[in-house]
Symmetry: none
Subunit: 235 residues, 2 copies
């Protein structure tokens, strides 16, 4: 096993995250000041500062100069610019990612998707996975994969590797296309995300190309109340 030596600022982050996870600190509650962390954890102020700054960056905390640091209203954020995978996203927030594999099969897929993936026989790998953040369902990922691009897809353990990670490894992405929309969930998605049918869902449809071939088509469903997309442009 790897005896992982965590950086000090990670320990500081975990100290704060622990108090939030345990319920001791609710959204809006005040967090220790940098000097309090310095005294309590015997770290330098720069280390405490980095820990708090990164927790702000990942959306866990909010800071008000001259006033204090507070627990942010819990809402997930993702970065469409970096095509990150959901597991890294969740772990970056210091939370636990768990994937539940609901389906993993070879199917004759709908005609529209067969056409999108350029499959003459319509046969594609199909997976349905629910990604959890701290045991709360965050994303339902339904994916159709081109067998010619990723022939070993069925033998991957998706509780350890996300489909996205696997696809990136076997066939580097050339092109990604996204469609984002707001919609009401269908009963299956609502149930998997533990939502009422009236609660809006943010859907990202993602098509990827690799080796000059359409590689996969994914529908990523998220609870509107627990997920947001963030992006930055700079010129």
């Amino acid at each position: 096993m790897n005896a992982v030596v965590k950086p000090l600022y990670e320990l500081v982050k975990n100290h704060v995250l622990g108090r939030i996870r345990s319920g001791e600190l609710k959204p809006g509650a005040r967090v220790e000041s940098e000097y309090e962390l310095v005294r309590a954890l015997k770290v330098s102020r720069m280390t405490a500062n980095r820990a708090l700054r990164e927790l702000v960056q990942s959306g866990v905390l909010a800071r008000v100069p001259g006033s204090g640091t507070f627990v942010a209203d819990l809402r997930s954020a993702a970065h469409p610019l970096q095509i990150r995978n959901i597991a890294a996203e969740i772990q970056g927030r210091g939370h636990v990612h768990r994937a539940r594999v609901m389906l993993k099969e070879l199917v004759k897929c709908p005609a529209e998707i067969a056409r999108l993936l350029g499959l003459s026989d319509g046969l594609a790998f199909h997976s349905l996975i629910v990604h959890h953040e701290n045991e709360a369902p965050l994303q339902v990922e339904e994916r159709f994969v081109n067998p010619f691009v990723a022939p070993d897809y069925m033998s991957v353990d998706f509780t350890r590797t996300t489909p996205h990670e696997y696809l990136m490894a076997v066939a580097p992405l050339e092109r990604v296309e996204h469609v984002v929309r707001a919609m009401a969930p269908n009963p299956t998605v609502a149930s998997l995300l533990q939502l009422e049918l009236s609660e809006p869902v943010l859907l990202i449809e993602r098509t990827t190309w690799s080796q000059e071939l359409p590689a996969s088509f994914a529908c990523l469903y998220h609870a509107g109340s627990r997920f947001e997309l963030r992006g930055v442009f700079s010129i």
Copy 2:
């Protein structure tokens, strides 16, 4: 007035970004080491380190311990959230765009927005416009504008020029930040979009910077059933 003093690490980031934007540094190219930046820009190593670390975080650079810092390969040619002009969008589909100006006023804006726009007195221009496609409401645009960036905002005829067009004309964009989410509409938005309260809405919150200043904050509401965001990445 707003005498903006940029943090040193921002200047370091801009130094590197400038060399990338100009084309001097291509993806894969080596960037100055931390010590080189220390010597060249007369900053401390911690400052150079923070600048480079944040550029890694935003996907611009990649670092290899023991080796060096490099321009990241995966650059998005287009953003999922393209800077779109709703009027051009609609006209591009061969349809008729019409804007109804519901509000155009100078207001004391909410504290959070005043902070975002860097307004000490909290006074900002405020507009509320409904954009129609062939007489059907497509987007509700609520916008707060920094008077220091666009002092003539109140005299613009928004039935002829969109706020976005006007802002682009008077002050070229430097940076845009987006947050996208799915939500249920509030009664005002539902009524303006002619929606049931149960129909999901796609909200884009957009903050723009110009001339080194926060220029505007906009909430763009769209009927989930009539609007989607599209984007492409290429490598």
